[in-house]
């Protein structure tokens, strides 16, 4: 058991003082991992899907579906990272920050107006405006 994968092994555990603060920290950690992780996952795959749609000129639905197929993988990695974290506050800021930034970036005019003419299965969609 020599191998220690945690990035900051010497740091003191985030909550080792009071039982109550320990419980609160655990509850926050679980909420952050499940709820925060879910929203962050959705934000990240939305942003990626829009970027791919703009850069490679594919229909947004296709790139979004690709993202969704990988979403559970991303979600589990986020949850594991949150539970492995030594500094809960910093991890919270990173995770929520990433989620908010991704959501805001999706609102950029370039990405918000992913509109195009799509021809699939013989049906033409003229300028499907997606906001």
């Amino acid at each position: 058991m020599k191998l220690d994968l945690s990035p900051i092994a010497s740091a003191p555990p985030a909550a080792a003082k009071q039982p109550l603060s320990q419980v609160a920290s655990l509850v926050w950690r679980i909420l952050l991992a499940t709820v925060g992780g879910y929203f962050c996952t959705v934000a990240v795959i939305s942003l990626t899907a829009r970027l791919l749609a703009v850069l490679f000129d594919v229909p947004l639905a296709n790139s979004l579906l690709s993202g969704m197929l990988l979403s559970f993988l991303l979600y589990s990695i986020i949850i594991m990272a949150v539970f492995a974290s030594q500094r809960l506050v910093r991890t919270s800021l990173w995770l929520l920050g990433a989620g908010v930034v991704a959501t805001l970036l999706c609102q950029l005019p370039v990405l918000a107006d992913v509109s195009e003419t799509v021809v699939i299965a013989g049906v033409v969609f003229e300028g499907v405006k997606v906001s």
Partner: protein
């Protein structure tokens, strides 16, 4: 969380596994049984004659529907396929067609994206069904076999549960699956010597043996466990990740339209026109799809000039098959659309769902699926027992939580097999004309489960497993025997006629019963040796477990 990465993951593995283990056990066991759902249905309806060929089945269905469902605006025909034994028909007598889609969907078991979102908003229970249904036997008449949900009950239960609104149930199963995925990933992380431990199995060492049993069943079928959990989440992805769609599209219809193409609704013209023979359309469609099998035929506005016949490809041919749709005009028989391949991500999604449902599997692969599923069930069961066994000898063993886990473990790990057996017993024991027969078979299932829960609550914890296993052994060993007396398709007959569906199921009962009996005897022997030398018990109370016991 903990000072070391592996300890955090160990914590997560233990608790993620424990809180949902019981639901997962039920989901895994019934899901595993669902790989043989057609065979189970067959066993539960021994009166049925052999199935018809697709062409015959379609012709019979058309004849039956024209007689019995002339005014309907939509017919749905589910073909028997290679493994089914009846042609199932659905139609709405009144001109209201919303629920028919979900009815058809539940019938084909195809988790198709458009429907699954609609379907998830609707509760489907036999009582709420507002469509008519009929099953045709191979000779084209309505099947007169005993009424039963058959193997489909297991299939539905493994994601819809029962006695719960479908949407809730699917969310519960989804959350459990997500935690299962986490437990698998963390399990791989904490198990550093994944292959080395294989050669140092420790039999008869108390909780260490449980740990090894847990590791063995996990590692042997690890790719399967990862695959089945992930693809299980994918099958209901549009429900679990609905936020991703609604965050990017004004409505889910637009998303699906972009993905699969939108088809205009079919409106009746009011001019009557004879429907072309469906048999002929089936042949045309099979030629169009290079000989692929058709699983589902939907006729919109039959008898109208604007009628449309929709055929969906079965996913039984190969891993990548299935999902293509063809539309023909119902009055002229002309092809209305070309079978264009779906976009790549959609194809991958189909492939992943096919991988999960295994409809393409030939008998050998199907057995592998089944055995891997059993290994997964055993992995969950042994993990749950390990949690208890490891804590049984520790100071806090009398804690309420420990007792609760012990009871639920017994009530689930022993209770589910008993419930399944009771389901089969109810099928053979209930009188054939019993009112609401299918429902009573399911009552039998839950009665068995409840019985074992009560038993594990009341029985001395040290004797629970031995007695429970003895009960299971008796129940499973007597099933083929009772089948011998109660139907003419007993083991002797089916072996003589090499009818592997019936013989296989009876033999599986026998093997299950023998395994339970043997395990009960091992437990009994261990009890005896342990009472002879009380030191043995202390030796197994070795608290420093191999994978780190700091999991409380």
């Amino acid at each position: 969380m903990k000072a070391r990465f592996r300890d955090s993951m160990n914590w997560l593995h233990t608790w993620a596994g424990l809180v949902v283990g019981w639901v997962l056990f039920a989901v895994f066991l019934t899901g595993t049984l669902a790989y043989f759902q057609h065979e189970i249905s067959r066993w539960m309806q021994p009166e049925l004659p052999a199935a018809a060929s697709p062409e015959q089945a379609v012709a019979q269905a058309q004849q039956y529907l024209q007689q019995h469902a002339a005014g309907s605006d939509r017919w749905t025909i589910v073909l028997p396929g290679d493994r089914g034994f009846t042609t199932d028909l659905f139609w709405r007598p009144a001109p209201m067609a919303e629920a028919a889609t979900s009815a058809a969907n539940s019938a084909t078991n195809a988790v198709s994206n458009k429907e699954s979102t609609k379907e998830s908003t609707k509760e489907k229970r036999p009582a709420n069904r507002r469509f008519e249904r009929a099953s045709l036997a191979g000779d084209g008449t309505a099947a007169t076999a005993r009424e039963t949900r058959g193997g489909q009950f297991f299939y539905r239960f493994h994601f819809d549960l029962y006695h719960l609104p479908v949407v809730w149930a699917r969310w519960i199963v989804g959350v459990c699956s997500m935690l299962m995925l986490l437990a698998l990933c963390t399990g791989i992380v904490i198990h550093k010597k994944i292959f080395k431990d294989f050669f140092t199995l420790q039999w008869r060492k108390g909780h260490k043996s449980w740990l090894d049993g847990h590791t063995l069943t996990s590692v042997l079928a690890l790719p399967f466990h990862l695959m089945i959990t992930y693809t299980g989440l994918i099958t209901l992805m549009f429900m679990y990740m609905a936020l991703a769609v609604s965050a990017n599209f004004p409505s889910s219809q637009q998303f699906f339209a972009q993905l699969q193409g939108d088809t205009p609704p079919i409106v009746a013209s009011g001019q009557p026109a004879a429907l072309v023979p469906l048999e002929q359309i089936l042949r045309q469609a099979q030629t169009e799809l290079q000989g692929a099998d058709i699983s589902l035929i939907t006729v919109h506005q039959p008898g109208d000039a604007a009628a449309v016949i929709e055929l969906r490809e079965a996913s039984t041919n190969s891993l990548g098959s299935g999902g293509r749709e063809l539309r023909y005009s119902g009055s002229s028989g002309l092809l209305l659309n070309a079978a264009i391949a779906a976009p790549y991500p959609e194809q991958i999604r189909h492939l992943l769902i096919n991988l999960h449902s295994g409809r393409f599997a030939d008998p050998l692969l199907r057995w592998l699926y089944f055995l891997s599923g059993l290994a997964g069930t055993a992995m969950i069961g042994s993990g749950l027992i390990l949690w208890s066994a490891r804590r049984a000898s520790q100071p806090g063993a009398a804690h309420f939580g420990h007792k609760l886990v012990h009871c639920l473990n017994g009530g689930t790990v022993l209770g589910l097999p008993l419930a399944v057996a009771c389901f089969f017993w109810a099928n053979r024991l209930l009188p054939l004309q019993w009112p609401d027969r299918p429902e009573w078979e399911i009552h039998g299932f839950f009665a068995g489960w409840l019985l074992m829960l009560l038993f594990s609550l009341l029985r001395n914890p040290k004797l629970l497993w031995r007695d429970g296993l003895q009960l299971l052994a008796a129940v499973y060993l007597l099933l083929p025997l009772w089948n011998f007396f109660s139907s003419n398709r007993h083991l002797g007959y089916s072996l003589w006629h090499t009818d592997w569906v019936f013989a296989g199921i009876d033999l599986v009962f026998l093997v299950t019963g023998l395994c339970c009996l043997q395990t009960a005897r091992v437990l009994q022997r261990r009890r005896e040796t342990r009472s002879q030398s009380a030191i043995g018990g202390a030796a197994t109370a070795d608290l420093t477990g191999t994978a780190g016991a700091s999991t409380r």
